[in-house]
């Protein structure tokens, strides 16, 4: 087969897999979506407060924290995966959790990768807000929590961008989750890591088919979030400030 025919064959296979509702593919898609969901949710749960604190707080070490979060956006996934895996080995400090080669272990690793994205992008978004806004709110007697919520509301476009970034990273990740999850078929194999296996076995057509499905998923979810984001933008622009 030529390279072009591998591509065409892959697209044809992708269509067949989607139309036939192939069970194995459904499992892999399910794992991919669950990983993206839980890791993004956890990254948001920890990253939003962290980002607010880094962006608005006035405490020692804030700049260092901000620098760390920004550096964290460039965390090499393979290194994160390796460190998490070694910590989860039997007999290692976290070995008792039984997380290595499990779905939850992958969520842990992917959350660590998504967390700096959410924290740094949230911090940047709230820092871009006009400073007078918060002084006014404080003058009206707003509590810290109320100021934080106000900041999140005003920076929601940036927060959505952070969400999209964390989610996209979860869909695309291979290096970290293969080391921690083990790339086990039917358990910890995601669309991206399944592509890796098919390439190793020389099944390029199948690899392209899986890759096409993955791209489709990313496109649909990113488009949904972008629509929500732009809807917000219009609402903001329309409102007298």
């Amino acid at each position: 087969m030529t390279a072009a025919s591998f591509l065409l064959d892959g697209l044809r296979q992708a269509a067949e897999l989607i139309v036939s509702g192939d069970h194995d593919i459904a499992v892999v898609v399910g794992t991919t979506l669950r990983l993206a969901f839980w890791s993004t949710l956890l990254a948001l749960a920890i990253g939003l407060p962290l980002g607010l604190a880094l962006g608005l707080g006035r405490f020692r070490g804030r700049r260092a924290g901000l620098a760390l979060a920004n550096a964290g956006m460039g965390l090499p996934p393979v290194v994160v995966g390796l460190v998490v895996a070694l910590l989860l080995f039997r007999g290692a400090p976290l070995g008792g959790l039984n997380l290595l080669y499990t779905f939850n272990g992958m969520v842990l690793a992917q959350t660590l990768l998504g967390l700096p994205l959410v924290a740094a992008l949230t911090a940047a978004a709230v820092q871009a807000l006009p400073g007078g806004l918060f002084e006014q709110a404080r003058a009206f007697g707003a509590s810290r929590a109320q100021v934080a919520l106000l900041a999140l509301r005003e920076a929601r476009i940036g927060v959505l961008a952070a969400t999209i970034a964390a989610m996209g990273s979860a869909f695309a990740e291979v290096g970290a989750i293969v080391l921690v999850g083990g790339n086990l078929e039917g358990e910890t194999q995601t669309l991206a890591s399944a592509v890796l296996v098919r390439v190793s076995a020389g099944e390029y057509g199948r690899a392209i088919a899986l890759g096409t499905i993955l791209l489709g998923l990313i496109l649909v979810l990113a488009a949904g979030l972008t629509l929500a984001q732009q809807h917000e933008r219009r609402a903001l622009l329309g409102r007298p400030s």
Binding site: A26, V27, F37, G91, T163, V197, Y204, L221
Partner: protein
């Protein structure tokens, strides 16, 4: 304020709803994980998917197989770190150290199968390997090195301490080359320009070799199983085998290019959390007659990727006659040998001659040096005679029919 923040929440919830509808199925809670660290070729050749995974879990529903396909070097390192119940490897020296350091539950591993290493390169063979070392691996490597020095060839190394990489370094040592402290060919204190380290798995290394970004003249060493898998599905089309079928008079002997896959249970004395029952069940499965017979036909009987090697083979020189007078004695003689070419025949293997329907043996004997044996016993009743032997070193139990006798 709540509605505004709700958008992010809604988006995340939509993702969650999609995730839940994704058809995930939780395994039943009663199952226990059994972690197998294995060399990649078992997965990349399709063996895991077609012959091992589903069948093992069907026969042993208690175990949830976690089969990790990594290079032999990584597999052994992970097993040494206690991150395994079972190890499958094909790196004899590292395996010997693994056993010597007490990581194996049994005193030896169990041999499962073998195939061979071959050297591949461009079909027009600019290094002249076919002429200089068609069936001589060390000669072939010398030819590639000489052509490399003359600017006519490149060698692509896995460079990842896999079983294949270790074999490659053995060959450079046997070739008497000047080597670096890592065992790689050296020019001065550095690697020569014709020696390229890929840091990739076997399949990717083969593709890189075929593509040959350094010129049009790349060679590499590969196991036959991966090569046939990739050639079979069209991923490799141009590479040709320039060296295979190592002969006994070639340097290193006939066994030099053999690639023997062994399986080990991790020693619970080292790591108490080892699932030893599951590990034994898995070893039993790989060495079972059913799996071994399936290997012979995979992916096809004509071009198998692996050859079964669990049980020894018996060559008979003297068979029992078809019919006997009552009480007359029969002699069964012959030779027991490993199915791995050039492997030493088992000496001291306890053999028994039994009637297939009765438990007490008609005769017992141990094999002599070279695997030769001679069993003589009296047959009182008609029946099928069977030669049997227990598990012995790396060899699994033997049970083979030597023919039917009828006694009037």
């Amino acid at each position: 304020m709540r509605t505004d923040l709700g958008v992010t929440g809604l988006a995340v919830m939509a993702l969650g709803a999609a995730a839940c509808g994704g058809g995930s199925s939780e395994p039943p809670p009663a199952r226990e994980d059994l972690i197998v660290q294995s060399t990649t070729s078992v997965r990349d050749s399709g063996l895991l998917e077609r012959l091992i995974g589903p069948e093992f879990e069907r026969r042993h529903p208690r175990w949830n197989l976690k089969f990790l396909a990594v290079g032999s070097g990584e597999a052994i390192a992970n097993a040494r770190a206690g991150q395994a119940d079972v190890l499958i490897a094909h790196s004899p020296k590292a395996e010997k150290a693994f056993v010597a350091d007490g990581f194996s539950a049994e005193r030896t591993g169990r041999t499962v199968m073998w195939n061979d290493f071959v050297i591949v390169g461009p079909p027009d063979d600019p290094a002249g390997v076919r002429r200089l070392g068609r069936h001589d691996a060390v000669g072939a490597m010398r030819a590639i090195a000489a052509a490399g020095a003359a600017g006519r060839a490149h060698f692509v190394s896995r460079g990842d301490e896999s079983g294949t990489n270790v074999k490659e370094l053995d060959l450079w040592a046997l070739a008497g080359m000047r080597r670096t402290s890592d065992g790689e060919p050296a020019r001065g204190s550095r690697r020569p320009a014709w020696y390229r380290k890929a840091g990739l798995g076997m399949a990717d290394t083969l593709r890189l070799t075929e593509q040959c970004p350094f010129g049009r003249d790349c060679y590499t060493i590969t196991d036959r199983g991966t090569l046939q898998q990739l050639a079979g599905n069209g991923a490799i089309r141009r590479l040709a085998i320039v060296m295979d079928g190592q002969t006994a008079d070639a340097k290193g002997g006939a066994g030099l290019m053999l690639n023997v896959y062994d399986v080990y249970a991790i020693n619970p004395a080292k790591y108490p959390r080892t699932k030893i029952a599951g590990a034994r069940a898995f070893m039993q499965f790989l060495t079972s007659r059913r799996f071994q017979q399936a290997l012979e036909r995979y992916p096809s009987r004509e071009r198998p990727g692996f050859f079964p090697a669990a049980a020894p083979r018996v060559r008979l020189t003297s068979r029992p006659p078809a019919s006997l007078a009552p009480g007359q004695s029969v002699t069964v003689a012959g030779r027991v040998e490993s199915t791995v070419p050039a492997a030493a025949a088992p000496a001291g293997l306890p053999l028994a001659l039994v009637r297939s329907d009765a438990g007490t043996p008609l005769a017992r004997a141990r094999t002599a040096a070279g695997g030769a044996f001679r069993l003589t016993g009296r047959v009182e009743r008609s029946g099928e005679l069977v030669l049997s032997a227990p598990r012995f070193g790396q060899l699994s139990a033997l049970r083979v029919s030597v023919g039917r006798v009828s006694v009037p």
